[in-house]
Amino acid sequence: MTTCPPKHELRLQDPYAEKLRDLSYDAANQCVQCGYCLPACPTYESMGKESASPRGRINLVKMAAEGKIDIQKDLAKPIDLCLGCRACEVACPVDVPYAKIYEAAKEVIAEKQEEARVQEERIKKSSNFQSKLRDTILKNVFPHKGRLRLIGNVTWLYQQAGVNKLVRKTKAINQISEPMAQFEKVLPRLEFPGKRNKWGSTIPAKGEKKARVAFFAGCIMDAMMYQINRQTVELLCLVGCEVIIPNQQNCCGALHAHQGLTNQARTLAQANIEAFEQSGADYYINNAGGCGAMLCEYDKLFENDEQWYARAKDFVSKSRDITEILVQYGPLPFQKEYHGIITYQDSCHLRNVQKVSDEPRLLLQSVPGATFIEMKGSDRCCASGGIYNILHFNESMNILDEKMKHVKETKATTIVTTNPGCLLQMKLGVERQGSSSDIRSLHLVEVLAEACGIR
């Protein structure tokens, strides 16, 4: 029989296991292994094995911290296959901080992989393509809003020039990668980049001013979905908000934190806290569930830094999702009837982390002419998972195709989400079902903007 040894008795050879133990062991030991998280976990449902469940993953982190299994060989894969949707945290009866354990594991795995990569490169100058791609994107693209906007602009040009049609016709992209070909098809049709909101600008409230809010533009939203950002600002003005777009804001750092690059996430958070403090706004508004979840947990990044912790706490207390503000200061002045059935897919991070699930539904139900029908499993992850759907295409599609069956049951003509990743995933799901001519996938803001006559 082997039983968990007391912490002080552990003598580990592996410094990474030591670090993992320091970061997560106490949290992992809070788990009483009751299994109540199992039915909430989308990867447990689709993969059907304990190592793909929250209870299983927490146990494996514990085993790695105790030096019983190897961080890279045994722990990395099960952790990597977690979507990070955090539905398990809501289901947990004893409030185990899963995200803390998960992100600690991610961090330690990333560090150990980095070390292995460096060593390997020394030997044969090659490395794992997947992790290289991930690191390049996270380090060199997301923290630079200029570079991201450039990608957006190039995409707009690509679509304008009709290259996309040529690529689809010749199936050129399929030669490179089937997943990439599928993603290419569902990229949003971009509007002229000149219509983007200008950094540092202030947009006055329509009618009586009820609040001053600062808008968090987000990196993907700003680069690729800036039309939704522009509409968000206009909706805020419509309910009486004066909107400022802080100039020095940056990527929220969520993708970095989820991939174990905690220090980079911290640097990005500091830049954002500073930028928003200067805005003097009552609330900090975002329209992306994933970013919002990160923003509302900035305090957790600075638990060992008193000064930044206080500033982060203040930031967190002002952070809001767009739907919360629209309900608080609404109703919206609708002008047009909306046609057809609408269904809603929760953004996991909006629902499970920010605990916002009623507001989006209330807003959709208030749209004149629309019929709102709840789909089965709307609260379960769509398996977009940040860049999970790129890194784990097949696992992600298994979950997505299952979800699309539930969409179909509602006979919805519009499927609505509140996060860019989920939105792309929904578009992909609809495309895979071959029903892109019957079902629109829209951000909630787009639906509201349309019904308010905002183009």
Partner: protein, 464 residues
Amino acid sequence: MIDRIRDIVPEERIFLDLSERYSYSYDASFGEYLPDIVIQPSNSIEIAQLVKMANKYLIPVYPRGAATSLSGGPLPVEGGMVLDLSQLNKKHIIDRENLLAIVSPGVITAEVHKSAEEVGLFYPPDPSSSHVSTIGGNLLENSSGPKGLKYGTTKEYVIGLEVVTPTGEIIRTGGSTVKNVTGYDLTRLIVGSEGTLGIVTEVILRLIPKPKARKTLLASFDNLVDSGRAITRILSSGILPGAMELMDNACIRAVENYQPSGLPLDAQALVIIEVDGHPSAIEEEIKQCEELCYQEKATNVKVAQTEEERAEIWKARKMVSPAITQMGPTKISEDATVPRSKIPEMMERLKQIREKYQLNLVVFGHAGDGNLHPNIITDKRNIEEMKRVEDAVSEIFEAAVSLGGTLSGEHGIGTLKAPYMELELGKEGLLMMKKIKEAWDPNNILNPGKIFPKPGQTKVVLRA
């Protein structure tokens, strides 16, 4: 040998990786045991072949559902082969005409609740883990929950089984009729056998009509003995409530500390009573319950007027488990059960044990059927305290048995209570059970290391 297994089960349902094996090394109880191989069989034929092979090579076989067990039922204590049956969940038929459910063992219990209720029927057994646990696991542990008082435990609802025996034969027991006296009642023998006598591969459950309505009240008492008397009075007055739940002062404080819900902190006991049945009948019954509580010196009785108020009352009870785990990382959850007239006496004994061993011991449970849940909150890394916990656990069992009760009402014996079997059953009684085990499983390959104490073992050891 692995090649032989690959002939029986496809590769993708065989797990040999260390991370996969460690993922089946635990349940919700105590201890960690690494199996050599984990297999997810998809039908009884595969299971029968695997068990036959295990007999040939003497490999221990451990069937496992969702591993929510609090007694160590699925733990692979001797290594060997874990059969994960949670994925054997395809069959789920509700037979409305015959009031039956015919299901695979891996079907989640709450799914049976749901599908029965969709057609106006009812499957009463409701362990608190029913939204996670499998029907197969429930059945082998003979689990139950609050509704056991009025509706009985799992065994009352299982009328037929398909079972793979410990020697790899596929047999059917019972059938689709409520009445069946043909031969020995092997169904009842398998139910509650904790996976030592067979692996269940199909279950026929009896369903009953769903009660039309329910009413709930919450009563506070200044004295535990008063609450016990109120419970006894109600039960002897011709009312059989659907549930009667009890929380002691330590529980009340823990819940209030965890999530303030306006519970009376000075009350020594809270009792939740729920009656179900025809709307006009329960209207009268709940009123009578209220009066009886006041007669037995309840300080306050609150009858829920709306569904929200009812949910609020139950929330306090459901909050007990999470609330008490905030007090320490290790929870030892017992389920010693006494005749219901002995509840006040048992509560008194538990209080003495708490004081004697200076432990964080709280009590809640299903008071109506005498099934109490003394829970000790501790830290398994504290060796000195764990020794006191072991002594306290032994004394809890001794108290229950000496009051005419039993070691376990619903969690099962598993590894944790095995040392105390003789205490309750006596030498001859335990020997009789052993003979049955030996007759069914001559090679002792099915779930070995459970239920029966090891030679000379008379006390649980919780320390590493």
